[in-house]
């Protein structure tokens, strides 16, 4: 649904994007992650037809973004990182204006606006002045706006930034709902752990270059990142430390808050082995908690040493 080929953008001598290759399948939620200035926003602006790349190509639904701007805009809903609002309008008027701007017939506009207000839970605010809304409400209004013309692709640039935890959870739920509706969503965020829960694929970008693209499992496999298990035993913890340290699959054992933190190589089914070994050694296992690799950790590891 979204594809870029050797996409590059230079601002003078500054390379914002360098030969970016990206592919997002229909119905996927793609998390776009990177530090500030990595090139996320630039990529999204190019896909939203607001910037021209220096070289390379970008396609949305098979359409060339540079050559068929209007057709692309019909298929894309773009929400910028910082969204301005027309402060002389009410919420309903604001959405109706964008409905009209997307050439939606006058007869259908009211029903469509009511529909997106319901979806984004903004019915109670339909007569409120747009600039009187809280930041969270304005983000929802932004989402309502991008949905007004029922686009196939949603490009959301940090939609959860500056929101309180409740509003973030609500936005996340809304994105899940949109995925169920079959939308392809490209989303960038600095709240990486949130993307982890909703994204099918992630792309990690740094200095305009994609340093990784794939699923969470693929991140682990590609990076050969070690996984962790937290073990708690009743009784002699030193004995447990010795037993676990003797296992060949285990790389490191160290005490951590009353637990033993066990680091092992990715790809091994270690939990059964640990439990069995400890029981055979006469130790009672109270807890055995696998600690999954977090996206934050992957981000730190993947970008470590590259940031200047």
């Amino acid at each position: 649904m979204i594809e870029t080929q050797k996409l590059s953008k230079y601002y003078g001598n500054l390379a914002a994007l360098v030969d970016l290759d990206l592919k997002i399948e229909q119905g996927d939620i793609f998390g776009f992650i990177g530090p500030n200035g990595a090139g996320k926003t630039t990529t999204m602006r190019i896909l939203a037809t607001l910037l021209e790349p220096t070289r390379g190509r970008a396609f949305i639904d098979g359409l060339d973004v540079m050559r068929t701007g209007k057709e692309v805009r019909r298929r894309v809903g773009y929400m910028p990182d910082f969204m301005g609002v027309y402060d002389d309008l009410k919420v309903f008027e604001y959405l109706e204006f964008f409905a009209a701007a997307f050439n939606i017939e006058r007869k259908k506009r009211k029903a469509i606006v009511e529909g997106v207000l319901e979806l984004t839970d903004l019915q109670g605010k339909r007569t409120a002045a747009v600039d009187s809304l809280s930041r969270g409400m304005q983000q929802r209004l932004g989402l309502a706006r991008v949905l007004i013309h029922d686009p196939k692709v949603l490009i959301l640039d940090e939609p959860a930034s500056g929101l309180d935890p409740r509003a973030r959870i609500e936005i996340r739920e809304l994105l899940r709902e949109l995925k169920r509706m079959g939308k392809t969503i490209m989303i960038s965020s600095h709240i990486l752990s949130e993307l982890e829960e909703i994204c099918d694929h992630v792309g990690i970008i740094e200095h305009g270059k994609m340093v990784f693209s794939g699923t969470m499992d693929e991140i682990r496999r590609q990076m050969g990142i070690q996984s962790k298990m937290r073990v708690r035993v009743a009784g002699d913890r030193d004995r447990a430390f010795e037993v676990l340290s003797s296992l060949p699959q285990i790389k490191e054992v160290r005490p951590e808050d009353g637990y033993l933190a066990v680091t092992y190589a990715e790809g091994h089914e270690i939990d059964g082995t640990i439990a069995r070994t400890l029981v055979q050694a006469g130790l009672d296992v109270i807890a055995l908690e696998p600690e999954q690799l977090k996206l934050d950790n992957a981000f730190l590891q993947l970008t470590k040493g590259i940031v200047h």
Binding site: Y11, R45, A48, T49, L50, L51, E52, V65, M66, R67, T68, G69, K70, E71, V72, R73, R74, V76, Y78, P80, F82, M83, G84, V85, Y86, D87, D88, L89, K90, F92, E93, E96, F97, F98, A100, A101, F102, N103, R106, R109, R126, T127, A128, A129, D131, S132, R145, H149
Partner: protein
Amino acid sequence: MRQKATQILTWMNRYNPIDLAGPIVDKELRVAAGRKRYYFLRTLYIAILTLFLASVWFSHVGVSPVRAGALRAADMSSAGRMTIITIVSFQFITLPILAVVLLSNSVSDEIRQGTLAVLMTTPINALQIVVGKLFGRLLVLVLLLAISFPLLSIVRVFGGVPWTFVLAGVFLTFTTSMLGGSLSLLASISIRQAYRSTILVILILVFLFLAAIAIHTWNTVGGPPKWLKEMTGFLRFLNPYAIFYGVSSTLLPGGGGPQIMNGWFGHCLFMVFLSSGIALLATIRLRKVMLTEAFGGEKNSLRRWFRLDRKTFIERRAIRPIRGECVIWKELQRIRPRTIQPFLFYGAMALFIYTITILVPGRIVLSKTFHSWFAGILVLTGLIRTASLAAGSVASEREGRCWPLLLTTLLDEKQIIRGKVVAILIDTAPLWIWLFLHTVLFTAIGVLDPLAPFGLLLTIPPGILFFIGLGMYFGTRLKTVTGAVAVTFAAPIGMSFLFPLLGFANPIFCAAWSMQLSTEDLLTEPFGLVFLGSFAAAPIIVYATLGLVFLWQARCRVRRDVFGLGQVDVIGPRG
């Protein structure tokens, strides 16, 4: 004794004028004075002053050294006097306007950036902010004023100009700048857009200027009754432009005009008191705004009741359905949220003008001069409104970061520009209709020539087109509304300097001249029709062509540099 001295020093330190203003003056001098636009304004000021001086000098002395010694000395004397009058007059006209521009964003910027609430958490009080802002920025003007001192001192000797005149000119300039600056500061507390407060205060100054002319004309031509004449003397004392006219006219060839050299000092003192009063009012108002910003207090209940508060008004009004083109609808919501607003404004203006007309004796309404002034003022008002709306129409969306949202819709460049142009025309239509109906009415009763309405029809539309094109173009080029509006106003002035003929045939003058047209004169005078032809052709061809070119350029720039990063981004015309 030592204790007494320490007490005095402590007291002096506490009430030290610099300390009274606190660190704001320091901040203004360090930060604000270093801004790009300050450098630009200073450079522009010096450039124009030099241009004026050069033209005055060469027109009096010339470049040819063949004249006899005595004549040469007379030339020098005349040039010296005219140079001083030029410098002092130039400063008197420009510096108050500069003061208005420099202080127009003094508080509104702090409110927009959210730093006003931060200032509340410091020991700095509202008075210190007002005094600091006012004097911090007026110091920039004092430097500009000081630039001319050495020149004035030297040239004064050639022309035999009394020191009193130079002093009066400098003091009048400073106190008028102080008045303009304090008014601008007061306006910037309530008006968020700097260009709006600038226009408002400049209109007040223009009103004072016109009042000075009206008082002088009234006294010279007809002459009011005795009791009114005494009142006009008092009004003249309050009006800086009238005082300056009185002071400078004593030096002009012929030395006409009222001899009121002695009144200037009293007037300056009055202006200092008036400015201090306005600054005090600004302090009270600023304190209220600071409290609202910091604690989100309730807005003035009277304003809410009358729905004068914009947010309250929007929330209480009914939902307005979109009819016709959505861009036109949206623009009209922006430029006149209250539909009745322009009618109230023009109604008040009409009431004022016609009341003055009736009150003034001598059947002034039957003179073509009155109608010339009337047309000139209305066209000036209409074009100021047109230019500021055009400049703000795109720039406000860019400034408010709504522009990318609009560009990701299915609206193309043509629809966006056309919608904005039509909305501006709808907004200003009542003014043009009023002017046209006024002209037709007075043509019908025989005061004006039948050519007058045609003159207006020929000269005003190109002017509107020119200012719309110019405003739109700079709106697409500049990042802020204030910048776009300022350049839109400055460009025609600069153009008039470069091409004086174009400046001479500007739509305001042409509209005023239209009222003076006479078919009989045109037919009997040699080259009358040729004059009329060129008179009509110049504005139509030049202004309309320039307007169309700028409008086309604006359209081409709609999708360029969408985010104000300075790069060229074009996706769309091909899409």
